[in-house]
């Protein structure tokens, strides 16, 4: 590929989905291994973008099934066979996948969405409400999230609807363990790694190294710190000094996303 992505200038012509894709793509290094779950068009676009630019050797296990696939573009599902076209290996989901995913040695990075995420990075995809057996809303359920969160993976949360309903002080139900009550609560249970980053339509957040509370890392172009704080259900830790602005995508990145990776605009679904 002759595209000069390294020297491509940033652009203002990008959608919020494209910004999330570039922020996430930046989290993946050339020697990383990552996998995606269902409904994960943005993470899949981020993997594919990273592989076409700075991380050509990023190992991608598509849908936890197909290793190193070559789909021509993002298909309509991130959990069906078109995504793992031309794979090098199929991972058998009872045997191999257990050894691969449920060990902390392999496939260490995972991007995921959560209906609720709290100030300590605990995730809820199970229920909204206080009565587990008669919830206000029954959500899909934890699927593999409870496992990945407790098995030493690094988790990257994305959220296109930053609000005090999705970013809450305390989740109604812990479907995926973040830093629990914060501080060394996670360490005490022997759980390695955990939530690394939260990327929303307003900002990028990570976690304070000691308190493990969510902290603002950068605000997206055009968004103020106040807007972010107002849309968040708890007090965010602010960095010392000015809050940086999230880097905009480059022209080359946007072109790759629109023309090569996702011409069918699955990222907007």
């Amino acid at each position: 590929m002759s595209l000069d992505w390294q020297n491509s200038p940033v652009t203002d012509d990008y959608s919020i989905e494209e910004l999330l894709i570039t922020v996430l793509a930046d989290q993946f290094r050339n020697d990383d291994q990552a996998t995606n779950g269902m409904g994960s068009f943005i993470p899949v676009a981020a993997f594919m973008l990273a592989r076409k630019t700075h991380a050509p050797d990023l190992i991608w296990l598509a849908g936890t099934v197909g290793l190193e696939p070559r789909p021509e573009r993002i298909p309509a599902s991130t959990l069906e066979a078109p995504l793992w076209k031309d794979s090098i290996m199929y991972i058998e989901q009872y045997g191999d996948a257990w050894h691969l995913l449920f060990s902390s040695r392999w496939i260490e990075k995972f991007c995921v969405g959560a209906a609720q995420l709290d100030q300590y990075g605990n995730a809820n995809n199970s229920i909204i409400g206080s009565d587990y057996h008669a919830p206000k809303v029954r959500l899909p359920g934890t699927a593999g999230l409870a496992d990945l969160c407790s098995l030493g993976k690094k988790l990257y949360y994305w959220n296109l609807n930053h609000s005090s309903r999705s970013l809450v002080e305390k989740v109604d139900f812990i479907s995926g363990a973040g830093y629990l009550e914060g501080g060394d609560a996670r360490d005490k249970l022997g759980l390695a790694n955990g939530p690394q980053l939260v990327v929303t339509n307003l900002a990028v957040m990570d976690f304070h190294p000691e308190s493990k509370r969510m902290q603002l890392k950068s605000v997206h172009p055009g968004v103020t710190v106040e807007q972010v704080q107002d849309a968040t259900g708890f007090e965010l830790i602010l960095p010392d000094g000015d809050v940086p602005e999230t880097s905009k995508p480059t022209k080359a990145q946007v072109k790759l996303i629109r023309e090569d990776i996702d011409p069918d605009e699955m990222r907007n679904k």
């Binding site: 599902s77 069906e80 199929y90 989901q93 009872y94 257990w98 899909p140 990945l148």
Partner: protein
């Protein structure tokens, strides 16, 4: 060898009200939908359902009042959204959910298959799942002094419902090389009875050409039925993809209980057999469409 080939009606009649049924389903992928519709036609009641990730089959069974409890990791139709009938039934306490993570499900079924009282996992530690499920998940100290594990109690479903590519009349089941979800790898080994629908019944000699593709031995299978397009509207690669129009048709009416009744009447009760079902869902043009699954929307 013992004949296992039978009819859909006969196969499903083996299931009793109240049974725990392990169902192959992974969002929009590979579910034995003809067997699921037959559960509704035979008006089964109070079934417990074991699923990895349930999709449209769970929604239809919830809508028809067939199930009253679910053991599983998730229920969703992925890009087609939440299962609204299931959701409503849970919120109204008509279905009780035992939510377990994938590793806990693997461990519970794995223990069932191996005749062990439990298998351990370190997944789900720190979550609220264990709090809601003390009968089946217990924190257990490592006898060697390491970190504690969650002991996951053996789960032995009364029956497993599976769809596969081909089988012989004796119930030896073969799968084309494709994604093998835990449904296939562990559910039938754990269940007391196994019922399998297949796209095609073939001579045993055909199976002997590729013994590595045989996924279940005939002696484990109680009934096998031949049902072309038996996974529709879910996908069954490499034969066909999911039917996106059918899924959208369902989600467009699935919040409306009256329309849900009509839908079930049209697609479940009215067709007298699989042939009539395939005509009801659109016949040749739909079947040709799902065969071109690389272009699925």
């Amino acid at each position: 060898m013992q004949e296992k080939l039978t009819t859909i009606e006969e196969a499903i009649s083996k299931i009793s009200n109240g049974d725990v049924v392990a169902l192959q389903t992974m969002a929009t992928v590979a579910s034995p939908m003809t067997l699921v519709r037959e559960l509704i036609r035979q008006q089964k009641r109070e079934l417990g359902l074991v699923v990895l990730v349930g999709g449209i089959p769970v929604d239809l069974l919830a809508a028809a009042g067939v199930i009253n409890r679910l053991i599983g990791a998730a229920v969703t139709m992925e890009q087609f959204g939440l299962c609204q009938q299931y959701r409503q039934a849970v919120e109204q306490r008509r279905i009780r959910v035992e939510e377990i993570s994938e590793s806990v499900l693997n461990a519970r079924l794995g223990a069932g298959a191996r005749n062990l009282p439990f298998l351990p996992t370190r997944g789900a530690i720190g979550t609220d799942l264990m709090k809601e499920n003390p009968d089946n998940m217990k924190l257990l100290d490592d006898p060697f002094g390491g970190l504690p594990v969650i002991a996951c109690r053996a789960l032995v479903p009364d029956v497993a419902l599976i769809h596969a590519h081909r089988a012989d009349r004796f119930g030896n089941i073969q799968y084309e090389p494709t994604a093998l979800w835990p449904d296939m790898g562990i559910m039938p080994y754990a269940a007391k009875q196994v019922i399998v629908s297949v796209e095609e019944i073939v001579d045993t000699e055909v199976l002997r050409l590729n013994p590595d593709r045989t996924v279940l031995p005939g002696f484990m299978v109680d009934a096998v039925v031949e049902v072309p397009y038996g996974a529709h509207p879910t996908s069954f690669y490499p034969d066909y993809g999911y039917d996106s129009d059918f899924h959208r048709q369902w989600t467009s009416i699935s919040r409306d209980n009256e329309k849900v009744k009509e839908f079930i009447s049209r697609y479940v009760h009215s067709p007298a057999n699989q042939q009539e079902y395939l005509e009801a869902i659109g016949g040749e043009s739909v079947l040709n469409y799902i065969a071109k699954w690389e272009q699925a929307e």
